[in-house]
């Protein structure tokens, strides 16, 4: 069975059932490995991508759930060699150790900042609650999100 989905502005047709997990399709069928597998039950956020601009956990999202909505993955953020403000903010704040959670954190934070362009600490904690950094870099991640928020607002 073939299913068509739009990822980072490009339409892809894959041989899969509509019940296939978006994460597996992204990673294995489309070779976009920036989105990570962490738990498979929507508890860690390593697999976070954007569906129509808002964060979802791709491990429990099926192709049927996605339908024709555009998907954005970490691979879709960098434009002409220029990093997204959140990518840059994680670098500036050194907000990582092993880095395995980073891409999911960035995607979740983009969604958060879309809802709350000027987030309070509580809104960050609430909005990022689905993402785990087992290395414990949360203080730096919060600093990075605030920093990116300032930059993104100044560009508007």
């Amino acid at each position: 069975m073939s299913v068509t989905l739009e990822v980072n502005g490009v339409k892809h047709t894959v041989d899969a059932s509509p019940e296939a997990s978006l994460l597996e399709i992204l990673r294995n069928d489309l070779g976009m490995t920036g989105t990570k597998f962490g738990c498979g039950e929507s508890m860690c956020g390593a697999c976070t991508v954007l569906q129509d601009g808002y964060s979802i956990h791709s491990c429990i999202t099926t192709l049927a759930d996605v339908g024709t909505d555009p998907i954005t993955t970490i691979e879709g953020l960098e434009k002409d060699g220029k990093l997204h403000p959140l990518q840059k903010a994680l670098l500036d704040e050194g907000a990582m150790q092993c880095g395995y959670c980073s891409t999911g954190m960035i995607m979740a934070a983009i969604s958060l900042l879309k809802r709350h362009p000027e987030p309070t600490d509580e809104q960050i904690i609430q909005g990022m609650s689905g993402n785990i950094c087992r290395c414990g870099t949360y203080p730096r991640l919060i600093a990075a999100i605030k920093k990116a928020a300032v930059e993104m607002r100044s560009k508007k």
Partner: protein, 681 residues
């Protein structure tokens, strides 16, 4: 020991040739480090081979490559080792490439554990780098027929008078290698240009763009995906298996070797379906319920109790700690390829050479027929010493003669990896009314002796670890047994302080040498926390604790808020001071300290493996809670720099003080002494 030496000699020759093939001709410096190792007490396993260390290759294309058996698992060793090399090479760190954990290219290394990278590998790489620089200066002096002392090496260029040439140009045509002695002068830290600075994480850009390939991201041409059949409980034996349904699925292959059964398919989803289609009958082996864990570990052994001197007050307490899981966000994974004579396995492990041995043994191959490559890995915390996924993927790849990827599920990672040991600590402490300790007795059951020796001044000390039959597979962890031993000791110190009617910080300081590093971090933390000015407040409590392990000294003070209705224990504020000698990278050190403190909160407050009859009952992140954003306290970290003391590692010791500080704060809040990790109201 002799065997190790032979292996090492064989490794060097083979690796040297492979290396020059891989990196092209050039100038290879190998470091002999007998005196460095002589100073090091290697505590576990076999000793390190005597005649190797770090290698440095100066290529003809402008690159300088450092080769080390250490691996990067988030502790930022790649960055600190880059700094170490750049410092002594007199180069910009961006021009230095570090190859880590590739057993065909790097010198043998026992593994990345025990906080050894900083105290052993940093000096080795510095010596190798300094020797490389000096060798290049000698070559240049010879080439230009000038005295070596008239030349300077700066920014990868050698200059002197009218002469100037890059390291690469000097190295060109010299396909020699050089074995050097380790007695070479290093740059004093007052002159450091790169070390001691907060160099950003090497490779970070590829992480935020998703380009860095962790093991689970590696793909080889023609690669298939595998799933391994797991028993329903520990020790279960296979009675019968019917693979016919799975075998009939298009593209599915079965690998069967005794009880080891794997399914392989071109796509993960097909492999998952094939695994589900296996019909297996098991005979299970009944095991204990975790509620009986501590009785089982403690056993019936009767202990001789120390005599309490007349005039001393004493207190006896028993502390317990549950099994906990490392939960590295990247689960165990491996990509294996067999080419008919050589097995190459990409996997995330802290012991690449150990995993090479495991794979060779499991497949009946010689070690030189196995190459283990460790990409920078999605964390370990002591949980990736072993190579289960690597061995499994290698067995499957060899059986079907195709490249294979195996990624463990979270349930597999929770169930078939290993745990930080559970344990029981029986404590007896006695002190004079003045607060001076007179007796200290610490009997540990199962979780081991790391950190069991008290750092306090006590003449009459008994500290023994007793072995138990663990119902679950257990292994290393950040600080291993020291976390629980320190929890028991520091809570027991608090108990004794209250018994003597002495303020807990004062009680500790009375029993530490005034000029000790542990006393210093305690004082620094107390000062920053405002310990002396604290006022009791309903529902709030304050606690302080300290600890030392692996050359690191830590003290943490916390404020907790208790909710007697929801039974919630909230850490509101955590202040930590840490001293591990001379600081190599302040920002990364702070990152490690903060991370360790947060991880320690998990074991202190909510992490515990529940099991019954050999089954893990909570092998899911939905049922095993780890620290999240919402648990984050207001954190402050003070780094104590000791320029005259060699740097110790920092990935482990900062975890030591948070749990007892929380326990002591809970007691301060409501008078309840919680002696079990995780602590629950």
């Amino acid at each position: 020991m002799n065997l190790d030496k032979e292996v090492a000699v064989q490794d060097i020759e083979l690796t040297r040739r492979g290396l020059l093939r891989a990196l092209g001709g050039g100038f290879l410096v190998m470091l002999a480090v007998p005196d460095v190792l002589g100073l090091t007490s290697v505590q576990r396993g076999t000793p390190l081979p005597q005649n190797i260390g770090a290698w440095i290759h100066v290529g003809t294309d402008g690159t300088v490559t450092v080769l080390t058996g250490k691996v990067e698992v988030g502790q930022n060793a790649r960055t600190s080792l880059t700094q170490a090399a750049a410092e002594e090479l007199h180069m910009m760190p961006e021009k230095v490439k570090v190859i880590m954990g590739d057993t065909d290219l790097v010198p043998f290394d026992m593994g990345t554990f025990g906080s050894r990278t900083t105290p052993t590998m940093v000096p080795q790489i510095r010596k190798a780098a300094a020797a490389t620089r000096e060798s290049l200066l000698e070559l240049a002096a010879k080439k230009w027929n000038v005295p070596k002392s008239s030349l300077k090496a700066e920014n990868g260029v050698i200059r002197g008078g009218a002469h100037s040439a890059s390291y690469s140009e000097i190295a060109k045509g010299h396909s020699i290698d050089k074995l050097i002695e380790s007695k070479i002068a290093l740059t004093p830290n007052s002159e450091w240009k790169t070390l001691g600075k907060s160099l950003p994480k090497v490779g970070a850009r590829d992480i935020v763009t998703g380009k860095h390939a962790y093991t689970i991201d590696i793909s080889l041409p023609g690669m298939l995906h595998a799933k391994v059949l797991r028993p329903p409980s520990y020790g279960a034996k296979m009675v019968s298996v019917d693979t016919s349904n799975a075998k009939a699925m298009p593209g599915v292959q079965i690998v069967q070797d005794g009880d080891f059964i794997a399914v392989v398919a071109p796509r993960v989803r097909d492999a998952e379906q094939a695994l589900a289609a296996l019909k297996v009958e098991w005979k299970e082996d009944p095991g204990i319920h975790f509620k009986d864990l501590f009785d089982t570990l403690r056993g019936k052994e009767s202990l001789a109790r120390p005599a309490i001197p007349v005039g001393s007050k004493s207190i006896n307490s028993t502390y317990t700690a549950q099994f906990i899981a490392h939960v590295p966000l990247e689960p165990r994974a491996a990509v294996a390829e067999w080419n008919g004579s050589k097995m190459t396995v990409h996997t995330g492990t802290q012991r690449p050479f150990g995993v090479r041995s495991e794979v060779a043994k499991a497949l009946g191959l010689e070690e030189k027929q196995v190459r283990v490559i460790v990409p920078d890995t999605g964390s370990g915390y002591g949980g990736k010493h072993s190579g289960e996924a690597a061995v499994e993927a290698a067995r499957i790849a060899k059986a079907i003669n195709k490249p294979v990827k195996l990624v463990w599920t979270r349930v597999e990672e929770f169930t078939f990896a290993y745990f930080r040991p559970a344990g029981v600590n029986e404590m007896v402490g006695a002190a004079l009314p003045s607060g001076q300790l007179t007796v200290w007795s610490h009997d540990n059951f199962n979780s081991g002796n790391p950190g069991i020796e008290s750092p306090y001044s006590i003449s009459n000390q008994h500290a023994v670890s007793h072995e138990s039959a663990s119902p679950l597979r257990q292994g290393s962890y950040r600080c291993l047994g020291a976390t629980f031993n320190n929890f028991a000791r520091e809570c027991h110190m608090d108990e004794l302080a209250h018994l003597c009617g002495i303020e807990p910080l004062e009680f500790r300081l009375k029993n530490l040498p005034a000029d000790s590093r542990l006393a210093h971090v305690l004082k620094v933390v107390a000062d920053k926390f405002g310990w002396a000015k604290l006022k009791p407040e309903s529902g709030k409590g304050y606690g302080i604790a300290c600890g030392t392990d692996k050359g690191g000294f830590v003290a943490t003070a916390v404020e907790v808020a208790l909710n007697e209705v929801t039974k919630d224990i909230r850490v509101v504020r955590a202040v930590t001071a840490f001293d591990c000698g001379k600081i190599l990278n302040p920002d990364h050190l702070k990152n490690q300290v903060d991370g360790a403190v947060l991880m320690g909160m998990g074991g202190a407050l909510f992490e515990a493996i529940e099991f019954d009859k050999g089954k893990i009952l909570n092998a899911h992140l939905s049922r095993y809670r780890v620290p999240r954003y919402s648990d984050l306290p207001n954190m402050e970290t003070i780094l104590v720099d000791r320029p005259s003391i060699p740097s110790a590692g920092a990935g482990e010791a900062p975890i030591l003080a948070i749990a007892p500080a929380i326990g002591n704060a809970i007691f301060n809040a409501n008078g309840l002494r919680l002696r079990s990790m995780p602590m629950k109201l």
